[in-house]
């Protein structure tokens, strides 16, 4: 410690303080630590481990294909129903996982929150990021499915990360908001599974968005997951791309969710350790 360097100056005052640059820089390491921890812990004491990430969406795909595709004959455009529904399920499952983990991130780390200081926003950020590997695993089953139906993906495939990013932003925004509120209101634990289920039915996963009456379409498109699912389906399997309104409203709403989420989280953050 002998060499001269500019010493860090920290000011502690009653109002919510903003993160300093130094802290954010240091936070990269911490982000890595949190993400690494949740990966390492996730499949401890399981027999089939990461295979769960494939089994869950595949099982849902089979059930949905039988009931909605085969029996109810839900239209799926030019795509075979299993491919249609799996493209949607894939990104949806990722979104739902990221949303659940992000919403839980503060309360489930209460031992750390009450003992160690760090920019608390790292908790939802790392929870959202840590959900990504499972998405990669579920691509494996999609590849098999597309091989079976002989669907060749086009250049649009390169845009998949873009739609995943939108899903990540929405999951993080909503999750940060719910996660902060969860610190005081444990109702969130009850609300979350229910909300996720409702949201799933308001997203064109088991049915195409074209079934929604024209008059309500704009309302429907306010759900940014419409953009994500339609986009992913287009990028993977070449179904019609999401239209302009879907893209604009979807992107706008994801920015809104992100903004509100961060704002609520940062304003409540100073009270976490006392309230939790």
């Amino acid at each position: 410690m002998g060499h001269l360097q500019k010493t860090l100056h920290t000011v502690i005052v009653p109002t919510a303080s903003r993160y300093s640059w130094d802290e954010l820089f240091q936070a990269r390491e911490l982000l890595y630590a949190f993400v690494l921890r949740s990966w390492k812990v996730r499949y401890k004491q399981t027999v089939i481990g990461a295979a769960w990430a494939i089994i869950q969406p595949v099982a849902l795909m089979v059930v949905f294909s039988v009931f909605f595709g085969l029996l109810m004959r839900v239209p799926s455009g030019d795509l075979p129903y299993p491919v249609f529904v799996y493209c949607g399920l894939l990104v949806w499952q990722f979104f739902a996982k990221a949303l659940a983990d992000t919403s839980n991130s503060v309360v489930s780390n209460s031992a750390i929150v009450t003992k160690i200081y760090f920019p608390r926003l790292l908790l939802p950020v790392s929870a959202a990021v840590a959900a990504l590997p499972e998405l990669l695993f579920s691509f494996v089953a999609l590849a098999g499915l597309m091989l079976y139906y002989q669907i060749v993906p086009g250049w649009e495939m390169l845009l998949v990360p873009l739609f995943v990013a939108v899903a990540l932003v929405v999951a993080f925004g909503v999750g940060a908001m719910l996660g902060a509120v969860y610190v005081l209101y444990r109702d969130i634990a009850q609300l979350l599974p229910f909300l996720t289920q409702l949201w799933m039915f308001m997203t064109p996963i088991i049915y195409p968005a074209s079934l929604v009456p024209e008059a309500f379409r704009w309302l429907y498109q306010l759900n940014p997951m419409v953009l994500v699912v339609e986009g992913a389906r287009w990028a993977f399997a070449g179904s019609p791309p999401p239209n302009q309104t879907t893209v604009i409203l979807g992107l706008a709403m994801s920015v809104v969710f992100l903004y509100i989420g961060i704002r609520i989280f940062q304003n409540l953050e100073p009270y976490f350790s006392e309230t939790i």
């Binding site: 100056h9 920290t10 240091q26 750390i112 009450t114 005081l184």
Partner: protein
């Protein structure tokens, strides 16, 4: 007796007279009752989510409630401290005097209600250890993750891994999940990680000297080492021998305020008197 003047700054012979920590008029008020904790939280939410005309009424009620002094508990009441770089300062005081609250505010775990603190340098804490440990992870994994959580870089932890492990004397078990550790092994490893943090300003609570006599001695030795290599140290302890051994000067905290500060011996005498008085008043009858 309520002498709240700043302690005499002594630079501990380091020749660096700069201020490391300046605490000015810091208070922490807790409002009694669950409702108050909830109100503050919901006020913030309402402030973001509700338009002004809808929350005018609740804002007024909250302001009234906040002014209801009957419910106030002063955990800290106007603390002033000036600690120069390189000084080792002892903080002593009876249980519930506010020592832990002060440390929690200095580590930014909880915000003060009033006042301001200026800290020049990186703060490391040796207060409560092991809270970031995950039972399913091995000792090595926990050292890496916990080290990063308390402020070390990945490279630093890797570099000190062997040192940390051998200090904790858990070499044989370092690749075993910590849920299978004995509580002694767990505490030793947890202490060891925190004790190898290299911050310019260290907050140390001596309660942490854990384990059997042998390891306690090691912990104290480590604390002494931290105290003697020119770092600024805030040392909280109930052990007057350690205070005498490590500290340049002492601040006595009582009922949330610094009631005496300065020379080590005079502070210890004062503190012992305070404690004696306290037990004379209410002591034997209750024991």
């Amino acid at each position: 007796m309520n002498s709240q003047e700043n302690a005499l700054p002594r630079d501990g012979g380091t020749g660096m007279p700069d201020v490391a920590v300046r605490v000015s008029g810091v208070s922490k008020i807790y409002s009694l009752g669950q409702q108050n904790v909830q109100r503050r939280f919901t006020d913030v939410l309402a402030g973001i989510l509700l338009p002004r005309f809808l929350r005018a009424d609740r804002d007024r009620r909250s302001a009234e409630a906040a002014l209801d002094r009957e419910n106030w508990i002063y955990a800290l009441n106007g603390i002033d401290l000036k600690i120069m770089r390189g000084e080792v300062v002892g903080i002593i005081g009876p249980n519930g005097a506010g020592k832990s609250t002060l440390l929690k505010i200095l580590t930014r775990i909880t915000p003060p209600t009033a006042g301001r603190i200026d800290i020049h340098g990186r703060v490391g804490a040796l207060l409560e250890v092991g809270s970031g440990f995950h039972p399913e992870l091995t000792g090595r994994e926990n050292v890496l993750l916990n080290g990063m959580m308390i402020g070390m870089t990945r490279a630093t932890v890797r570099e000190r891994m062997d040192e940390i492990v051998s200090f904790a004397q858990v070499e044989k078990f370092i690749d075993t999940p910590v849920k299978w550790y004995s509580s002694g092994m767990f505490m030793r490893l947890a202490f060891s990680v925190a004790a190898h943090l290299d911050a310019e300003i260290m907050l140390v609570d001596e309660v942490l000297a854990v384990g059997d006599i042998g390891f306690q001695q090691k912990c104290l030795q480590r604390i002494r080492q931290i105290a003697s290599d020119g770092r600024t140290v805030l040392f909280v302890s109930h052990n007057m021998d350690s205070i005498r051994r490590f500290c340049d000067w002492v601040a006595v905290i009582q009922d949330g305020a610094v009631t005496w500060s300065g020379d080590v011996e005079s502070c210890i005498r004062y503190y012992e008197e305070v404690c004696r008085d306290q037990y004379d008043e209410e002591g034997p009858a209750e024991l």
